[in-house]
């Protein structure tokens, strides 16, 4: 059957549609041909696929062929069954008849004859030639047609249709198409069934010796082809897939030595998209086909169908895996194939596939994910092609032009060298080329990397080429020659073609055999690299038949151009796919080429993309490979900002990635640029290089308004010291967002050492709140750098590329305004008036240092600083048992005085000593309160007047300037109470009958100190005299009289009233008596009154403390000795007084004596009275003042009644009746002194009370 292959091939190439045969019985075809042929290709045809499911075919081309045509007549029966697909799919019988008899007698038998062959699908088209206006003819035609239908149509199937040539043909064409389709469908079904049956039969014999793949192939492909012409491409594709599977199964069957193929001229060019490239008959091998060609053929057929199905993406993805698997097959056979056949084939296959699929593919043809996948495969194809191309380039000596990048190294260094049976050897006439290559190799100088970076280049070769090539040759000389010689005939036997022997081998063989004299010499001496290159070049020239591809390898420039194109193609396609990283990495390769060719602009752009990719995900090792290149481009392009940032990034990479020397080079570049003449200051982010943190420990705490010193730890990633012209630390308040960060600047330049540096920054007063470190900014030369990177107390962590953590721990806390110090008076009780006294001021720092504080003291009126004395300061100690110690204060004083320090007042200011800065201290200021009035004694029993307390109050205005820079001020006015030592009250204790009065003087101590009275005497006013002969002093043995705090003492004086000197002398004599008391005071100045400040000079000599003198004025009233009137307050009603109730006050006035003669006669029988009442307590109804008649006789009496209304409840003084015209000395009152009455509150109102039930 294999002999039919050429015929099959030619049929396939010339035949591509369905054939419909036309049996023209009545010579009608020429008339209807046009109409019929207009109908093809058929639209929207429904056909059944292999699984008998209807499939809509959009367009079905067909051809009408007359049965008389030579094409149909001259066929052998065997051919017919084999190539059944080209037989007509329907037979259309064209008839016409106008006469029933004619039909019956002639036409009908003839038609029966035609349609009796059951194999064929047929139907009859009756053509009526009857003109439309000729009813007779029309009728006849109808009759004949009816007869025809009766005879040929059956119930199952309508086989007739009628075409009116001159009449309306409304439904005819549709009818015709339907009938044709029905026929095609049926025929197709039947033929598919037939083929399937045949194929099944053959398949069953697959493992039998008679099995012949060619037969199977012809049947299978016929079926596929039939599907293809029926436009059932899916089915056709499936057949090819099955065919491929079956083929691979047979080809991989062990034991059969088969010819692989691929050694013919031009085989290096892949034919995986061109099924007709090589005739199948040429590749028949025994009962099968040569693998090399046939697999490509099968793929080409599949690709063709896929393109027809508009699925170029599938072509691409199937193609890629086909290339990979086919490349593997080539590798298996490479010892028989020409040198580098595999590589060349892959290159051409990839390029062909890329071109074909790209040209068939339109944007948006497929779903987005399919599209992405398509571009990925395109990228993969480009990459594969690129890899193989680089390999070829390396072999011919362009290795030095291939960038030794990770991507190239990854793809080349793991790709084994080609393994030809024998490595190509040097042609005899190539010495000049070898010289040229030698020169090229010598001229090659490894391109120096910027910054003097030295790296071991990555390998591009799986092993050293020199060794590999020589080893392959050496194996030849080492005695394995026979193996090769043995192997050689095998190829020849296998194929029977002399061309099956690889040409490369031919070359080497012919040389070795033709010049046996040279044999040892050329083999023994290892080839030099240049020789290997030249030999490979020659061998490749033999392998590569494609002139275009060869040109790409012919010179370095062409090679680089192609390399660039392939890289670009791969990168562009990867960019459109999911595989962005692949794309960007290849961009880096493109950049390297641009870089080499000094196209720095493009190179920099691409390098930046690559760097961004690596940096973004933290692949520092890879980044370290590319970044120096970017930096170099930027430097050449004079992109200072970019260059600087690249240098900084280089510095911030892991230290292990560069040598210290290289890192120093980076830094010196930064410094050089920073101090060069840049037009504008360049901002630079050094977050990765300089990081900062607050020092360990609690944050700096400042009080409001205080400046401070902030310590910040800086970590420098620079390899050497670097000078910062300025440095600012940004402080950000954590509590308020509205307030911008404040920059705190250092004053002088800072030299940063590598590693940790502690920087102190002086801090102006800040607002209250807590602050964290924000941004660090500063300047290196013209560079304005900033760092956002907050390190957690370690050097910049290079892994932290994603998270610049915000510092959360505050570095500074400025407290809300609070009192930092308190000033208070140290004494709680009164001090002695008119005596120099120590006034203690407690200076109490509240968690704040008072270092260098200055106290301003300003005394108020009535107070004077005793400047003769030094001011004392001592530590303040709270004494728990203050009161208990009162009795022995000297001990206490001495205990404390050990720490007392003397201070001098200057201009009302005192500088506090440093030792007091953190402790509470007491400042003792000698002060004297001055009061000019004399203390007044009061009669006993009266309430002491409060006024005196206010009199004794003095104020001291204090101002304390303190703080770190005297920025804090505290002002306070302290009140100090001064008082007399005693309150004096007097009381006539007894009135003796002889006129002697016993005057009791009661001394109430007013100070919290014990007073020792050593002497007391009374200077009496006029009208009084001491009784006895003494000067009125008490007996001296009573003294000293100790009056302790808050206690009372009494002294009795015996006095008598004496006649006043004559009034006419009218000399103003002392109206008051003076009580003189000499006393000493012993008290604690911490508590209150104490002995006055004495001058130090007099202190030591007088062991006895100086006596103080206290004077108090007393007013003594002479007793009523000569009463003329008696005024008696009559008792009040027993019901008592109530607020709001009127009460009548009654006074009885009685004349005790006859009136003197010298009184004016007008008012002798009248007396002037006046009622004095406190208007707040009483409402007086009636006349307050008036005359009441009273006879001049002794014993005459009247009662004066006044209606009063008490206003206030309580004990109040009742109104008093006075007689203004009468001297007080002549009025005897009862009761004699002031008295009180009780006023009850108003009665409760009962009107709202509810009686109890």
């Amino acid at each position: 059957m294999a002999s039919f292959l050429p015929q099959f091939q030619s049929i396939k190439s010339s035949f591509d549609h369905v054939v419909l045969s036309v049996e023209d019985v009545s010579d009608l075809w020429p008339t209807v041909k046009k109409g019929f042929e207009e109908r093809v290709p058929f639209k929207k045809a429904f056909l059944n696929n292999k699984t008998r499911n209807p499939v809509l075919v959009d367009e079905l081309p067909a051809e009408f062929i007359l049965t008389t045509d030579a094409r149909l007549r001259s066929r052998f029966p065997q051919e017919q069954s084999l190539f059944w697909f080209r037989e007509p799919y329907a037979t259309i019988v064209l008839v016409t008849c106008e006469d029933l008899d004619e039909f019956k007698n002639i036409l009908k038998p003839r038609l029966k004859l035609i349609v009796q062959n059951d194999e064929r699908e047929w139907f009859i088209v009756f053509i009526s030639k009857a003109p439309a206006h000729n009813d007779q003819a029309t009728k006849m035609a109808k009759k004949v047609y009816a007869k025809l239908e009766v005879d040929f149509s059956s119930k199952k199937r309508e086989r007739c249709c009628k075409l009116d040539m001159y009449g309306p043909d409304a439904n005819f064409w549709e009818d015709l198409e339907a009938k044709i389709m029905e026929c095609i469908r049926n025929t197709l079904d039947r033929r598919v069934q037939f083929y399937e049956e045949e194929i099944r039969k053959l398949s069953e014999q697959r493992f039998m010796p008679v099995w012949n793949f060619c037969n199977f192939f012809i049947l299978k492909e016929s079926l596929a082809f039939m599907f293809e012409i029926a436009h059932l491409h899916e089915d056709a594709l499936r057949e090819y897939d099955e065919l491929e599977l079956c083929y691979l199964e047979t080809v991989n069957m062990a034991g059969k030595q088969r010819d692989f193929g691929g050694v013919e001229k031009g085989d290096d060019q892949a034919t995986l998209l061109d099924p007709g490239k090589k005739a199948l008959a040429q590749i028949v091998h025994d009962d099968s086909f040569r693998e090399f060609e046939f697999r490509q053929y099968l793929f080409a057929c599949q690709a063709k169908l896929l393109f027809k199905l508009n699925r170029p993406f599938e072509v691409a993805s199937r193609g890629y895996s086909f290339i990979i698997s086919f490349s593997g097959a080539l590798a298996l056979h490479q010892s028989m194939l020409p040198f580098c056949m595999r590589e060349v084939w892959v290159i051409t296959a990839c390029l062909a596939l890329i071109d074909a699929t790209a040209s068939h593919y339109e944007e948006g043809l497929a779903a987005p994910d399919v599209e992405k996948e398509f571009y990925r495969v395109q990228g993969e194809l480009y990459t594969l092609c690129r890899t193989k191309f680089m390999r070829l380039g390396y072999l011919v000596g362009y290795g030095s032009d291939i960038e030794r990048s990770p991507v190239n190294s990854a793809s080349l260094s793991m790709l084994p060298w080609p393994k030809p049976a024998v490595w190509p050897s040097l042609p005899s006439n190539a010495s000049s080329e070898v010289l040229a290559k030698e020169k090229m190799i010598l001229q090659e100088s490894p391109r120096l990397k910027h910054f003097g970076i030295q790296r071991k280049p990555l390998p591009l070769e799986p092993s050293v080429l020199l060794r590999e090539a020589n080893r392959r040759r050496a194996s030849l000389s080492a005695g394995t020659m026979s193996e090769l010689l043995d192997a050689r005939p095998n190829y020849g036997d296998g194929s029977g073609h002399s061309s099956a022997v690889p040409k490369v081998n031919n070359v080497s063989m012919s040389r070795t055999f033709s010049s046996p004299g040279n044999f040892d010499g050329s083999i023994d001496r290892p080839m030099r690299l240049a020789e290997i290159f030249v030999a490979a070049e020659h061998a490749l020239r033999d392998t590569i038949s494609d002139a275009v591809l060869w040109r790409c390898l012919s010179s370095v420039e062409e090679f680089e151009q192609k390399y660039l194109d392939l890289s670009k193609g791969a990168a562009n396609n990867y960019h459109r796919s999911w595989w962005k990283r692949h794309g960007v990495v290849l961009d880096g390769e493109i950049a390297a080429v641009y870089h080499k060719h000094e196209n720095y602009d493009f190179a920099a752009n691409l390098y930046e993309k690559v760097c961004a990719l690596y940096a973004g995900e933290g692949w520092e090792n890879l980044l370290a490979e590319v970044l120096p290149n970017l930096a170099e481009c930027q430097k050449i392009l004079n992109d200072q900002a970019g260059y600087l940032s690249s240098c900084v990034r280089l510095l911030s990479l892991d230290k292990g990635l560069f040598l210290p020397k290289e890192r120093q080079a980076f830094q010196s570049e930064v410094v050089r640029l920073a101090h060069s003449e840049m037009e504008h200051p360049v901002p630079l982010d050094v977050s990765s290089l300089i990081t900062f943190s607050s020092n360990q420990g609690p944050p700096l705490e400042l009080c409001d308004g205080d400046p401070g010193t902030l310590t910040v730890a800086l970590w420098s990633g620079f390899p050497e010291d670097i000078t910062l012209e300025s440095l600012s630390v940004m402080l950000t308040a954590t509590n308020s967002t509205d307030e911008g960060a404040k920059a705190i600047k250092t004053s002088e330049a800072i030299v940063l050492r590598p590693g940790r540096n502690n920087i102190t920054v002086s801090l102006p007063p800040q607002k209250p709140g807590s602050y964290v470190l924000g941004v660090l900014t500063g300047q290196i030369g013209q560079l304005r750098f900033r760092s956002h990177s907050f390190s957690k107390g370690g050097p910049a962590d290079t892994d932290d590329f994603m998270s610049f953590e915000k510092p959360t721990r505050p570095i500074l806390k400025v407290a809300m305004p609070r009192s930092l110090v308190d000033l208070a008076a140290a004494v709680s009780s009164a001090l002695l008036m008119n005596e120099p006294q120590w006034v203690g001021i407690i200076v109490k720092p509240i968690k704040y240092s008072l270092k260098g504080a200055v106290l301003h003291i300003d005394t108020g009126p009535g107070l004077r600083i005793e400047e003769r004395h030094e001011i004392e300061i001592e530590k303040h100690e709270l004494r728990e048992n203050n009161k208990d110690d009162l009795d022995n204060p000297p001990d206490n004083l001495s205990a404390v005085s050990a720490e007392v320090k003397q201070l001098t007042l200057e201009d009302g200011k005192i500088k506090l000593p440093d030792w007091t800065s953190n402790i509470t201290s007491v400042l003792w200021i000698p002060l004297k309160a001055i009061s000019h009035g004399l203390a007044k004694g009061t009669p006993a029993g009266t309430v002491p007047q409060r006024q005196s307390v206010v009199d004794g109050l003095r104020t001291i205005a204090l101002r304390l300037d303190f703080g770190v820079s005297h920025n804090q001020t505290f002002e306070k006015t302290v009140a100090v109470h001064f008082t007399d030592p005693f309150h004096v009250s007097i009381h006539v204790a007894d009135k003796c009958s002889d006129g002697t009065l016993l005057l009791q003087v009661i001394l109430q101590s007013q100070v919290k100190a014990s007073l020792a009275i050593s002497d007391a005497w009374l200077d009496l006013q006029d009208g009084f005299a001491h009784t006895g002969k003494g000067d009125g002093r008490p007996v001296s043995r009573f003294f000293p009289l100790i009056v302790s705090s808050k206690s009372r003492a009494g002294i009795l004086f015996s006095i008598c009233a004496v006649d006043t000197p004559a009034k006419d002398e009218a000399k103003e004599l002392d109206p008051v008596s003076i009580l003189n008391i000499r006393y000493t005071v012993s008290g604690d100045r911490n508590v209150g009154a104490h002995s006055p400040v004495t001058e130090e000079l007099t202190g030591p000599d007088n062991d006895k403390t100086e006596l103080l003198t206290f004077k108090s004025a007393l007013v003594l009233q002479r007793p009523v000795l000569d009463p003329c009137f008696a005024v008696g307050f009559l008792p009040l009603p027993s019901s008592g007084l109530r607020v709001g109730q009127l009460v009548t006050m009654n006074w009885r006035v009685e004349r005790l004596k006859d009136l003197d003669e010298n009184v004016a006669p007008d008012d002798i029988d009248e007396v002037l009275y006046e009622v004095n009442a406190n208007s707040e307590n009483w409402m007086v109804a009636g006349r307050k003042r008036g005359y009441a008649s009273l006879s001049t006789k002794q014993g005459s009496r009247i009662v004066i009644s006044i209606l009063c209304l008490p206003l206030v409840a309580g004990y109040v003084r009742p109104p008093q009746l006075g007689l203004p015209n009468v001297d007080k000395a002549n009025i005897s009152c009862n009761p004699p002194g002031p008295h009180l009455v009780c006023v009850l509150p108003p009665p409760l109102s009962s009107s709202y009370c509810v009686p109890a039930a």
């Binding site: 990770p406 790709l415 990555l458 999911w578 995900e617 090792n621 994603m802």
Partner: protein, 143 residues
């Protein structure tokens, strides 16, 4: 032979990368591992394709090139393990069990209280353990 083994963090940052070749060519392996992240990304972002295996950590073969193979493994915390081998004839089951053992070693390493999650793994013990696993893989696949 396993030539490279890498742990890549969930932000695609390298956490541990160890090559097992004699030559000084670790960088190309870095490249291979880095680029194979493309494949992992694709698989993870397009679960449609790999729907049957989405619940499995083992991602299978990532890189079917002619010369080496890259296998992937994705943990629940989106940490990727990538294995590059020049063995072209490796059984999936072997790789799968290899990854399981490696995963255990990794979990032990990151459970170290002194390890900072998301940072490079510097533990020597881990490295030793990994090299043991790698060696044993070579043996099991060879046998």
């Amino acid at each position: 032979m396993i030539v490279c083994l890498a742990v890549v963090g969930h932000q695609n940052n390298p956490l541990y990368i160890q090559s097992f070749t004699d030559a000084d060519d670790a960088l190309k392996l870095h490249h291979i591992v880095h680029c194979s992240l493309d494949v992992i990304d694709e698989r993870v972002n397009n679960p449609k394709k790999s729907s049957p295996t989405i619940n499995e950590a083992f991602l299978g073969l990532l890189y079917p090139t002619e010369n080496y193979k890259a296998y992937g493994y994705l943990t629940n915390t989106k940490v990727k393990f990538i294995l590059v081998t020049t063995d072209l004839d490796v059984r999936d089951a072997d790789v799968r069990s290899f990854f399981r053992r490696f995963h255990t070693a990794y979990v032990d390493a990151v459970s170290n209280p002194f390890h900072i999650p998301g940072k490079k793994i510097t533990s020597k013990t881990f490295a030793e353990r990994v090299s043991t696993i790698v060696k044993s893989f070579g043996l099991s696949s060879a046998s």
